[in-house]
Amino acid sequence: MTFTIPIDNGDAVKNAEADSQRTLYPYVTGTSIVAIKYKDGVLMASDMGGSYGSTLRYKNIERMKAIGKHSLLGASGEISDFQEILRYLDELILNDNMWDDGNSLGPKEVHNYLTRVMYNRRNKFNPLWNTLVLGGVKNGESYLGMVSMIGVSFEDNHVATGFGNHLARPILRDEWHADLSFEEGVKLLEKCMRVLLYRDRSAINKFQIAKITEEGVTVSEPYSLKTFWEFKAFNNPTAGAEGSW
């Protein structure tokens, strides 16, 4: 996908240079993030894969990070842009802490800050190629929101990015309800992640689940889900259609 904007000077060389300043396509990407609100806060799940096109190049990428005391950010899309966003947020939280005045940026504030950043980049035709999920708890209130690479931003009780929107959200629409316990929440997320593992070719079987409550953020150790491949139809896949094609 190339974005070309006519530049007034009409100089082909200058155009090329200007193009090289602009995001054209993503290179190393992460796939879906799925997140839900539950009784004590927010639960978020992601796999640990970083794809380089169709190659599953990196298998230990943490795509969810704690932000300050109250928030958790998950990202899909270009990994290097996610790292850039983490640097912006690091500075933001640092300056917030330096005030040392009892006020702190909560998840709502971080979400809106990110929306501004993403939207402004989009306006300059130089987006950060990510879809971000921001969850957190502050003063007893849970917050869960999403921002896309073009600056579309909203809050909801459950969100997902990429393939998660198509495969996970229908499950969540049916089975999510308020005040899920931690165990119920994890089970629900694992159900979604399993479907994504079967059907999303850029997903890998190595997950992390993160939880944010009033106490803080915890990201689990990586683990894998049990999968089932013993369907009868898989046993003799070419039965009924022997031949070279």
Binding site: W99, D101, G102, N103, S104, L105, G106, K108, E109, H111, N112, Y113, R116
Partner: protein
């Protein structure tokens, strides 16, 4: 304070370590008409005396809404006050836009103080000639700050600035320990009573004062004349003798000390 050879420039120190221009700026605050602020745990009340240049003109606005959760009362050069209010509104709205969240008043006050400090360190600038009583809310509740032309700021339970503010301060000093737990109505009544102290004998009428309130569940707004008059009526009916005796003692004690702001005739046209 007498003229001396170290007071021409704001960037000239005196041998005793003073910046006279900054101190003169603080004098300008004392010349303005009184402004009062007080706070409880959940509310802040800002009140001021309405002074008009003449009977023909309207009175100057000395209290400004900065945001739903922040208000400011000024004393001194009102033009400077207007400019700083605009700056505060701008900072507040920019923060709201980026973070969808109200700017904590403590952080606004620091930015204001830093802005004032800049004017005390550049030879081509002059200090702002206005004192600001900033009342607002943040996560930890209601706060009241006083911003000085020197670039200092202090937090207060209650404070008064401008001419004859000493009378109000004395009244507030007697009562401030109660303010934390005061109800909204008690706080408003105390503010109006403090205003009355600065009028020194002049009958208190609702047309003479402006009162504003903000609180945890109450956005900043001005009280209308009727509400103010109702509060005045609750105490103006009290036999004047009691109040006057207490009042006179204070005024008597205060008069010699209060050299700065005595007499409206001394007010320069730009000061209110």
């Amino acid at each position: 304070m007498f003229r001396n050879q170290y007071d021409t420039d704001v960037t000239t120190w005196s041998p005793t370590g003073r910046l006279f221009q900054v101190e003169y700026a603080m004098e300008a605050v004392k010349q303005g008409s009184a402004a009062i602020g007080l706070r409880s745990r959940s509310h802040v009340v800002l009140a001021c005396v309405n002074k008009a240049q003449s009977e023909l003109s309207s009175h100057q606005r000395k209290i400004f809404k900065v945001d739903d959760h922040i208000g400011v009362a000024i004393a001194g050069l009102t033009a400077d006050g207007r400019v700083l209010s605009r700056y505060m509104r701008s900072e507040s709205i920019n923060h709201s836009f980026t973070y969808e969240s109200p700017l904590p008043v403590g952080r606004l006050v620091v930015r204001l103080a830093d802005k004032a400090q800049v004017c005390t360190q550049w030879s081509w600038k002059r200090p702002y000639g206005v004192g600001l009583l900033v009342g607002g809310l943040d996560e930890s509740g209601a706060h009241l700050y006083y911003n000085c032309p020197s670039g200092n700021y202090f937090e207060y339970q209650a404070f008064a600035i401008g001419s004859r503010s000493q009378a109000a301060k004395t009244y507030l000093e007697r009562r401030f320990e109660n303010f934390k737990e005061s109800s909204r109505e008690e706080l408003i009544k105390d503010a109006i009573l403090a205003i009355r102290e600065t009028l020194q004998g002049e009958t208190l009428k609702s047309s003479l004062c402006t009162v504003s309130v903000l609180g945890v569940d109450e956005p900043f707004h001005f009280l209308d004349q009727e509400s103010i008059q109702k509060v005045i009526d609750t105490f103006e009916k009290v036999p004047e003798d009691e109040e006057d005796n207490a009042g006179e003692a204070e005024i008597g004690a205060v008069a010699p000390a209060e050299q700065g702001g005595s007499g409206d005739q001394d007010l320069a046209p730009m000061e209110m």
